[in-house]
Amino acid sequence: MNAPAYNFAYLDEQTKRMIRRAILKAIAIPGYQVPFASREMPMPYGWGTGGVQVTAAILGPNDVLKVIDQGSDDTTNAISIRKFFAKTAGVATTTATADATVIQTRHRIPEAPLHGGQVLVYQVPIPEPLRFLEPRETETRRMHALGEYGLIHVKLYEDIARFGHIATSYAYPVKVNARYVMDPSPTPKFDNPKMDNCPALQLFGAGREKRIYAIPPHTSVLSLDFEDHPFTRYRFDAPCALCGAEDSYLDEIVTDDRGGRMFVCSDTDYCETRQSSGHRGSENAAPHKERAHG
């Protein structure tokens, strides 16, 4: 037996304790960005080192880990992170949302409803929702402390003035527990309602920016808007071409070099689960199930 050259889940115990303290503080103050001493990880920042550190700090030997990137379990990024933890922590991994105890994600919240006891870990590139209009860190901190969030509406105002509607479709700002305004990371706004009153614990880690924040289970998460321009979810108005789902977030896929394209679920596990239980879309309809239009 050769002893591993690294600790369980890669990080040393002292670092994990430090990160856990930051996580506990983040849970105690929903939506508040807690600074932490982010460590170098054996992967580039763009790969979600913040999320990886959070996952490393909370993972136990009995956990079952799922990793998704843009909703898919099969991108290079998702596969490497999954392998990293399988190797350094020896934990079981899965692609099934319902079976996972810890789900690390970039860009999406799974379509299958999360349940109590699960933890969703987000990889966050830019944690500060006020950054785009107020570059001064001292000033944004004061704004959070005093609950001065007029600037968020300035941003939404600009959207409407320019595009006629709130065009922000990713990283759409939310107010957590009626107190802190938070950037949900680059998830599509389609996923925002899933954060509200979610039974799972949601943790957010930003590696380069050294921040951790959290939404405890069953916490209110409100997408900010104007009375006369209310928040709306957005999805392409089409069923999934593979599983026929009408309620899932879709990716547009180019199918050939003649401009052919189709819309399919971005959540691959959701799509495959539906297909294996007999749901079909236009692209893979079983002959006998060909849609019989009237």
């Binding site: 004061r142 007029g150 600037l151 509406h153 105002y157 600009e158 003035a161 104007f226 009375e227 006369d228």
Partner: protein, 266 residues
């Protein structure tokens, strides 16, 4: 103090400066300044470069902490409060509702990359306005009031001329109907004809809205046109104060005489 809020509210000072001093190391930039400003009154602070005008304005608007003395302000509820005793949240709220601050450099007072409409609407959104249409309508009417073509409402001020930027800054400040506006060299750096138009506009707005204002300028023509009263500063001290016409037409102090004769040649 709160008893006689409404009755004769205008008889009570809006702002009181009491023996204000501020030193930067060994240099005393502002020394023992006291005065009272009444509602609707426009006070000009004049003096040569380095005489302490900006320092005094920043002390009055609670952006600088004095080494000695205090500033009190009669809040909208009629209670006069020591500004140093206000919490940070209260002070910031006061700053974006009941006060305005017009900077000489519009880049300091505007968000240069954000549309004019949002620049004007920001204070409204900060105090909880949540209806896009109403915010936009209010912004439009303020742009009209400061003579900016409403067709430019979606343009960012970095595409505006110097005079337009200053007028936008004024609209951005006045949208919450403040009772007191601080201005630091509001016409500085503008062409003479642009200055004249801006001064004219400011004079009209101040009188229509019954605004009190404290205007720092080293241009005595600005003081003459806008202010009821003048304070002349030299080396951090107020050396002469009085009604604007009196001070400018018949200065007592030799320094003021020099100032008047050099800038307003007879």
């Amino acid at each position: 103090m709160a008893e006689n809020q409404d009755a004769a509210a205008d008889d009570q000072p809006l702002l009181i400066a009491d023996r204000l001093s501020k030193a930067y190391g060994r240099l005393t930039a502002c020394r023992d300044v006291s005065f009272a400003l009444y509602p609707g009154e426009v006070l000009a602070i004049v003096g040569e470069s380095g005489s302490g005008k900006t320092t005094l304005l920043q002390l009055l608007s609670a952006q600088l902490v004095p080494n000695a003395g205090c500033v009190s302000y009669r809040m909208r509820d009629g209670v006069t409060r020591d500004l140093a005793a206000l919490g940070e949240a209260e002070r910031r709220f006061l700053f974006r509702t009941d006060w305005g601050y017009v900077h000489q450099d519009p880049a300091q007072g505007l968000r240069m990359a954000v549309s004019a409409g949002a620049n004007v609407g920001e204070r409204l959104m900060a105090v909880g306005w949540n209806h896009y249409g109403r915010i936009r309508d209010t912004a439009s009417s303020w742009l009209e009031r400061v003579e900016i073509d409403v067709g430019r409402i979606d343009d960012a001020p970095r595409t505006y001329s110097g005079g337009m930027r200053q007028r936008l800054q004024i609209a951005r400040n006045l949208v919450t109907e403040p009772r007191l506006v601080f201005m630091d060299e509001p016409t500085g750096g503008l062409d003479v004809s642009v200055q004249a138009r801006l001064l004219d506009l400011m004079r009209n707005l101040v009188s229509e809205l019954g605004l009190a204002a404290i205007v720092v300028t080293h241009d005595l023509a600005v003081a003459r046109l806008l202010s009821h009263r003048v304070m002349v500063m030299k080396g951090g001290r107020v050396i002469e104060t009085g009604l604007t016409d009196q001070v400018l037409d018949d200065p007592r102090e030799p320094y003021t005489q020099l100032l008047v004769s050099s800038i307003l040649p007879a």
